[in-house]
Amino acid sequence: MSRAAITVLGTVILYLTLVLGVGEYARRRTTSDREDFMVASRSFGPVVMFFALVATMMTAVTMIGFPGDTYIQGVGMFGWFLGAFMLLAPLMMATFGLRIWMAGQKFGHVTPGELFNHRYDAKHLGSAVTLLMILWTVPYMTLGAIGAGVAFSEVTQGFIPYWLGSLVILATVFLYVLAGGMRGTGWTNTLQGAVFLLFLWGFMIFVGIRLGGFSSATANVVETRPELLTRAGSPQFGTKMWLSFALLLPLNILLQPHIFRRILTARSNRVFKMVVVLFPLGIWLGHVPAFLLGFWGAGVVPGLEAQAIDNIIPILVSNFGPPLLAGILLAGILAAIMSSIDGQTLALSTIISVDIVDNYKDVTGREEVLLTRIAVAVVLAFVYALALIRPGTVFGIAAFAFSGYALLCIPLLFGLYWPRVNRTAAWVGIVWGFVGLIAFEASLLPAWLSFGFMPYIPVAVSQLILVVGLAYLTSTTDENILKDYFSLYRKIW
């Protein structure tokens, strides 16, 4: 092993040990009580909740997929991916998210399935929602495992192969999620969120300087790939696709189980509203340097295509960083990846044990925590197997998962505002959303039926018509349940 490889690995091992140490400290503060393990007794203050949300939101998509697509698509990527998100996602959190948080506080929900079973007076709806969330989240988690494998193999120049890199990161996440539950993920996310934001900004400035200054870095792109300076002419950035993606992320954010569950952890409403303001700032801080790295990378690393575009930041790290710095930079990339996989793993394992096992079999709180821990192992093993197959580019996989989440929005979240939405409307809306999206993906529905939008748009419009129609045609939910919810909400917006 070369001296450089030892330095890189030593730095990364040190970092992973630090993360495990935080996880172990959280474990000592965590009991086997259901609410303590699953939602940290709803005790997160603004700093931990901010990093828990931001770090969980910024997955391998931010560190790997987004710069990779910027490398190919250029300037349009920033507005396309983030433009409307900065406005609409906090709005969704301030309105729908606030109602989710209040219901969690009042009724003790720890999962989306519990909330929707309760709100719609249903027995199996929550389980169906859970199955769909698993279906969309597993490929989304796989992005992290892919990103970790890519980062390790690129930065160590093949010394740590792809399969081993993925395995090391999933094993680390397994250990600290198993130990510390929600508190462990929240505290490690605070460390990891700070690390990767510092990494991104530091590395962006470092690369800019190494390329001869920001002007010189951009001049390389102007010279070699001038088409990347505008978004005109790209079909991906036409008005209909632009609108489709503008709505896609905000519609799905609250239906990502790890985000939903993070919302439940806010200690108070004051904490919640502070985080709603800080959240878009964190997203902005994470994506500005990621964009510039992908953009400048296009000028100095020619010829990447297909899945190789995901390698752009690791390649920059490998090309420009001395061994010690490369080790720190790799730790930064891994921080972003782990801080998402952990939240997703805990969310999935919790919803499996609560909404599927516990919903059909009486178990004690301790047994529920044990089941959650077993589910953590099963979920991570499945994700690892999928990562070894590597089914597509990071961004391509993410866009598919986002559409699936978005089609849960209308049947589920509308019920938090409109009392008429009932169990039947929710069921039919959910089933049609799933069937419609798969029908487009499998080409069972012709592409022209999407009218130039992303396929989820026509499915969502037809879903809206179905949900509204059925809400009027079928009987409403039990009056007492509606009173429970809408008296709770009558003072807010």
Binding site: G79, G83, G108, P226, T230, V276, Y417, K483, I492, W493
Partner: protein, 132 residues
């Protein structure tokens, strides 16, 4: 009775998403207005390859700057957050009714729907916490 019906059947007029002529309606209108700027093709910026300060592509500068404006709007939301929701943790604010009457934070403009005859209190969050 009409208020009770609207309470459990229709969308409340106090919902953020219902257009009204009051301050909340103004916030919704402002959000819609700001969203339009996301479509930079309306301003022709999508075709521009100008570099600001000789290194910053104008398309990126526009959208990252607009993102900061959006954060400013969310800050406006923060300062207009509904008073009833500012209280500390819900299950910690179940106070005796007489104490609540003296509390100054109960907002006046909520009065009509607050009086809904649903058995709830005037804060809307004073019922016993119902654990499932």
């Amino acid at each position: 009775m009409r208020e009770k019906d609207s309470h459990t059947k229709g969308v409340s007029r106090k919902s953020f998403w219902v257009p009204t002529l009051d301050k909340r309606g103004g916030l919704l209108l402002l959000a819609a207005f700001l969203y339009v700027f996301h479509h930079s093709e309306l301003l022709g910026i999508h075709q521009s390859d100008v570099l600001l300060f000789n290194w910053l592509p104008v398309g990126f500068a526009y959208h990252s700057g607009l993102g900061l404006v959006y954060i400013g709007f969310i800050l406006v939301l923060y300062y207009n957050w509904p008073d009833a929701a500012v209280n500390e943790r819900i299950d910690e604010i179940r106070e005796p009714a007489e104490k609540k009457q003296a509390a100054p934070e109960v907002i006046e403009d909520d009065a009509p729907e607050d009086s809904a005859t649903d058995g709830g209190s005037d804060t809307g969050v004073s019922e016993e916490v119902t654990r499932r």
